[in-house]
């Protein structure tokens, strides 16, 4: 049952992606991207990644969409026809895709419990998490306890991204308004 639901959701994802590739109105692309994120969150729930699904639904479908819409408000919403040929990118993509599919042929089948990924560190976390941290949600325990250095670095990345955007969009405006010389809006 899980497999069938997963396949249906993945098919929907592929359809939405095709629509995003052919759509020329950027507003539609952004709305489709939002739908894509919700579908991705559903797929993640089927794949048992509930924490990730919650994050994808709130970040991918909400905040990303708001930021993209704000950008479209500041720029333009229509995509021009590309001037160069599409044959080379298509060929490149298909070649890369072919090689990657060939690479997946040796991967273990979907959902098997004795695949190599489940043998190494995961049993250590699953068996010892209650004794060592007392936190039932293993994802939270690994995120904030076992691998808190990663999370510290990641919080710093968010901090840097925020500072970067504030400098790019806010800093100059303040400076130029103090000098009394508004920017040329061309």
């Amino acid at each position: 049952m899980e497999t069938v639901i997963n396949m249906a959701l993945l098919t929907l994802l592929a359809v939405v992606t095709v629509a995003m590739v052919v759509q020329r109105s950027l507003l539609s692309v952004v709305i489709l991207a939002s739908i894509y994120s919700f579908l991705m969150a559903s797929v993640m729930i089927v794949l048992d990644a509930v924490d990730v699904a919650l994050t994808e639904a709130s970040v991918g479908a909400a905040v990303s969409t708001v930021l993209l819409l704000a950008t479209l408000h500041l720029t333009k919403t229509r995509e021009d026809m590309p001037r160069h040929g599409r044959a080379l990118p298509l060929l490149l993509s298909l070649a890369v895709g072919g090689m990657l599919v060939w690479g997946t042929l040796v991967l273990p089948p979907f959902g098997t419990a004795n695949a190599p990924i489940h043998q190494h560190v995961a049993p250590r976390y699953i068996n010892d998490v209650m004794a060592e941290t007392g936190v039932p949600n293993i994802v939270t325990a690994v995120l904030a306890d076992y691998r808190s250095f990663d999370t510290l670095g990641e919080t710093t990345v968010i901090f840097i991204a925020g500072i970067g955007v504030m400098l790019l969009l806010g800093g100059l405006r303040r400076q130029s308004s103090e000098e009394g010389a508004p920017e040329d809006p061309s």
């Binding site: 994120s37 991918g60 993209l68 021009d80 890369v96 599919v101 997946t104 098997t112 990641e154």
Partner: protein
């Protein structure tokens, strides 16, 4: 039934790679920068899927310890991807801010129209 299960095993990976090359195609073939960033996001989410699919055990449950369950999916990829999603929105925002500034400087967000203006 056997053939269907065999097909189902491969289907996940094939769709993941399809999303990946769709993102790659948008980034390479399209000259509109907002579209390029959306393509980059698609590429990024396909990588999330590539990590999460092997973590799943059919018949297992979400990695939250409960006496009623014994089989849990692998929690480690979930942690890595949780981090990746939040970093992803940070990079997307930074990219969009650059697009806004490029639009103010050049009056366009199309790669092909910027190149002649930039002397390239």
């Amino acid at each position: 039934m056997e053939a269907f299960l065999d097909f189902a095993d491969r289907y996940n990976y094939v769709i993941t790679i399809f999303l990946m090359i769709a993102g790659l195609y948008i980034v390479v073939a399209r000259s509109n920068m907002v579209k390029k960033l959306v393509g980059l996001s698609i590429f990024q989410t396909s990588v999330y899927l590539l990590y999460l699919e092997p973590a799943k055990i059919v018949g297992g449950t979400a990695p939250i310890i409960d006496p009623a369950f014994t089989v849990y999916s692998n929690p480690l990829p979930h942690v890595l991807i949780l981090t990746a999603i939040v970093v992803g929105v940070g990079t997307l925002a930074l990219g969009l801010a650059l697009v806004v500034r490029i639009n103010e400087a050049f009056g366009t967000i199309d790669d092909d129209e910027i190149k002649p203006q930039d002397g390239g």
